[in-house]
C-alpha cells in the first residue's frame, strides 16, 4: 500500500491533497490516507482506509510531530511509498521524514511509475524544467506538484481508523505558537482577476504611479519583476515568479518586463498575457497573447485615458 498525507481545512481536504491522492493511484496499490486532527470524507478519492491521528498537543501545526506520525503509520503498515502534496507544509513534513529515515525524497512530482526502481518526473526551476529521476531506496518519499495533476474521482468506501500517536516533547517543540494576521487592504496578487505588472522598463519607483493608476481603474493587483524588487522600487510581496508569487488572473499585463524563465514560472496560471515592450523580440512579447510595441510611459497612460473615456 501507499500512504498519503492529506492536508485539510476544518475537515475539508485541500485541492493539492486530492491531486496527490490521484497521483498515488499510479502505484497500482491500495491507497491509505493520513489526516491529523480530523477525518475528512474521501469516499470519492480511491482511499481504502483513512487514518486519523488525534492528540491534545496537535491543535497547532508541529512539523516534526507530523513527520513522526507519518513515519509511525508508514512503518506499521509497511507502506512502499509515502506521498504528500507539494505545498509548503507537504514538502516540509516529507523533508523531515526523509531526514529521520535517510530515504530518498523527490519533491514536486507530476508523474510516477512504480518500478522498481520508482521513477518520477518532477519540477525543477519552478516548473521551467522537468527532471526524470529514479529513487533508490527501500521506500519512496514523494510530493506532488500542486495544480498540475487533475483530480480524477474514484468512488470507494473508506474505513476510518482513529488513533492517538505517541509523541515526544522533542517532536512537539517546533510548533506554531502564534498566528499574525496579514494586514488587509488592496487586491490580493494570488486572487486578482487582473494583474498590472511592471519591470525594469518602468524606470523608477515613481514610475509605478502610472502602473497603480491603471491597476486602480481595472480593480487589479500590482505586480512586478525581481529587477524591481532588487532595486527597492516595490516590496517583495509584489514580485511575480519562481521566487515570488504565482498568479492566475484572467489577464496579466506585463509592462517593461523581458520575460525571463523565472518570471514566466509565475505566470503558468494566467489565462491571457498582454505585453507592452519597446523590444518586439523580448521573450515576453513572443510568449504573450497580445503585444503592444513601444514605450510603456506613453502606452500605459493612454490605456488609462481610454478606459476613463469609455465610462
Amino acid at each position: 500500500m501507499v500512504l498519503v498525507l492529506v492536508e485539510h481545512s476544518e475537515a475539508n481536504p485541500t485541492d493539492p491533497s486530492l491531486q496527490a491522492l490521484t497521483l498515488a493511484r499510479s502505484f497500482g496499490q491500495p491507497v491509505h490516507a493520513l489526516l491529523v486532527g480530523a477525518a475528512a470524507d474521501l469516499s470519492e478519492h480511491g482511499v481504502s482506509v483513512t487514518h486519523v491521528a488525534e492528540h491534545v498537543a496537535l491543535g497547532s501545526f508541529a512539523p516534526d510531530a507530523w513527520a513522526a506520525i507519518l513515519g509511525e503509520v508508514a512503518g506499521r503498515l509497511s507502506a512502499s511509498a509515502v506521498i504528500a502534496a507539494g505545498t509548503e507544509r507537504g514538502n516540509e513534513v516529507i523533508a523531515r521524514l526523509a531526514a529521520r529515515t535517510g530515504l530518498p525524497f523527490a519533491a514536486n512530482c507530476i508523474a510516477v511509475s512504480p518500478g522498481p526502481p520508482v521513477t518520477v518526473t518532477r519540477l525543477r526551476w519552478g516548473g521551467s524544467l522537468l527532471e526524470e529521476a529514479r529513487l533508490h531506496g527501500s521506500h519512496a518519499l514523494i510530493t506532488v506538484a500542486p495544480h498540475v495533476v487533475p483530480v480524477e474521482p474514484s468512488p470507494m468506501p473508506a474505513d476510518i481508523e482513529r488513533f492517538t500517536p505517541d509523541l515526544s516533547d522533542e517532536d512537539l517543540l517546533v510548533r506554531v505558537v502564534e498566528h499574525v494576521a496579514a494586514l488587509g487592504g488592496g487586491v490580493s496578487l494570488t486572487e486578482a482577476k487582473v494583474v498590472v505588472s511592471g519591470g525594469r522598463g518602468v524606470g523608477s519607483k515613481e514610475g509605478f504611479a502610472m502602473i497603480e493608476e491603471l491597476a486602480g481603474l481595472l480593480g487589479a493587483a500590482v505586480g512586478c519583476s525581481r529587477a524591481v524588487t532588487s532595486a527597492g522600487w516595490r516590496p517583495h510581496t509584489d514580485q511575480v515568479g519562481q521566487t515570488g508569487t504565482k498568479v492566475a488572473p484572467e489577464v496579466y499585463i506585463a509592462c517593461g518586463i523581458s520575460g525571463a524563465t523565472q518570471h514566466m514560472a509565475g505566470l503558468k496560471g494566467a489565462k491571457r498575457i498582454l505585453a507592452i515592450n519597446t523590444d518586439p523580440e523580448a521573450p515576453m512579447m513572443l510568449n504573450a497573447d497580445y503585444a503592444v510595441v513601444g514605450d510603456l510611459k506613453e502606452i500605459v497612460p493612454a490605456i488609462s485615458a481610454e478606459i476613463r473615456k469609455s465610462r
Binding site: E88, A95, R124, H179, A182, T229, A260, Q262
Partner: protein, 254 residues
C-alpha cells in the same frame, strides 16, 4: 555569536533553457551564474545578525571550482570566511549534499565552536529538492524551522515567521538552530567596492568530499513544451490603446 550560511551556485537562465546534448544538464556555456536567491537572503541575514550582536560568520558551499565566485560574493557582503567542498560537474542529490555539509560543519565546529544559527535556502533555485536543511538539522540533532520570511534573535532563542494563507505563523526555537529562508526575508545589500576588495583576501578552506552513489538519480532533463501562445500584435505606441481596451472588454474584466 557564530553563524553559518550555506549557499548554492546556479546559472542565470534568461529567456529560454537549453540543455546539453546528453540532456543531463543545462548548457551553461553562454550563461552567467549567481547565488540562489533564497540563500542570498540567508547570507544577508547572517551579516545583519553579526553586525548587531558581534561574532563571526562563515559561508559554506558544495560545488565546482567556479563556485568560489559565489563564496567571494558572500564575503563581499560581510561574511568573514568560506569553506568550499569541491565537486566535479556531477550532480549531488539531497542526501549526499547534506551528508557532506554535515561533516564539514562538524569539523569546523570541533575547532572553532558551535554555530548558533545555520541558514539554508528553503529550496535551491535549480534542483529544488526542499530537503538539505532538514537533513543537516536532523544529523546535527538541532531544531529546524523552514520557509521563513522573518527571523529575529531574542536572547537564547530565535523567533521565526513563516508566510501562510492569511498571515504569518510564528515558531520560537532555542539556539542552536537550523533555519531555511525564502527571498523576501530581507533586501540583500549591494556589495560595496571596499567590500569586494576585502573579500579577495578573506580565507577559503577547500576540501574534496567523495560523491556517494545517488539515492535520487537524475536520468534526464526535459524542457517542457511552451504554452503555445501566438502573440497578436495590437499595434504600437499610444495609438494601440483602443485595441487594448477592446481586448480587456472581451476578456470580461472591464
Amino acid at each position: 555569536m557564530r553563524i553559518l550560511a550555506c549557499i548554492k551556485r546556479v546559472p542565470i537562465t534568461g529567456g529560454r533553457i537549453v540543455l546539453t546534448d546528453d540532456a543531463r544538464a543545462i548548457d551553461t556555456r553562454h550563461l552567467g551564474f549567481t547565488m540562489s536567491p533564497h540563500e542570498e537572503c540567508g547570507v544577508e541575514e547572517a551579516v545583519r545578525i553579526i553586525e548587531t550582536n558581534g561574532g563571526d560568520s562563515v559561508v559554506l558551499t558544495l560545488g565546482p571550482s567556479e563556485a568560489v565566485e559565489q563564496l567571494r560574493d558572500a564575503m563581499a557582503l560581510g561574511i568573514d570566511r568560506a569553506i568550499h567542498l569541491l565537486t566535479d560537474d556531477q550532480e549531488w542529490d539531497g542526501e549526499a549534499t547534506a551528508a557532506a555539509l554535515t561533516e564539514a560543519i562538524q569539523s569546523d565546529e570541533a575547532t572553532s565552536g558551535r554555530f548558533d544559527l545555520i541558514f539554508f535556502g528553503n529550496e535551491s533555485a535549480d534542483s529544488a529538492g526542499f530537503q538539505v536543511g532538514a537533513r543537516v538539522a536532523r544529523a546535527l540533532g538541532r531544531y529546524c524551522a523552514t520557509g521563513l520570511k522573518g527571523v529575529s534573535v531574542e536572547g537564547s532563542s530565535v523567533r521565526c515567521e513563516q508566510e501562510v494563507e492569511g498571515g504569518r505563523d510564528v515558531y520560537v526555537l532555542p539556539l542552536p538552530a537550523v533555519l531555511t529562508v525564502k527571498e523576501g526575508l530581507n533586501l540583500p545589500r549591494y556589495p560595496s567596492v571596499p567590500g569586494r576588495m576585502r573579500a579577495r583576501s578573506k580565507p577559503v578552506a577547500v576540501s574534496t568530499p567523495l560523491r556517494p552513489e545517488p539515492q535520487l538519480e537524475l536520468v534526464r532533463l526535459i524542457v517542457p513544451a511552451g504554452q503555445g501562445r501566438q502573440a497578436e500584435v495590437l499595434g504600437s505606441g499610444a495609438a494601440a490603446a483602443p485595441a487594448v481596451v477592446e481586448v480587456l472588454r472581451k476578456a470580461g474584466v472591464l
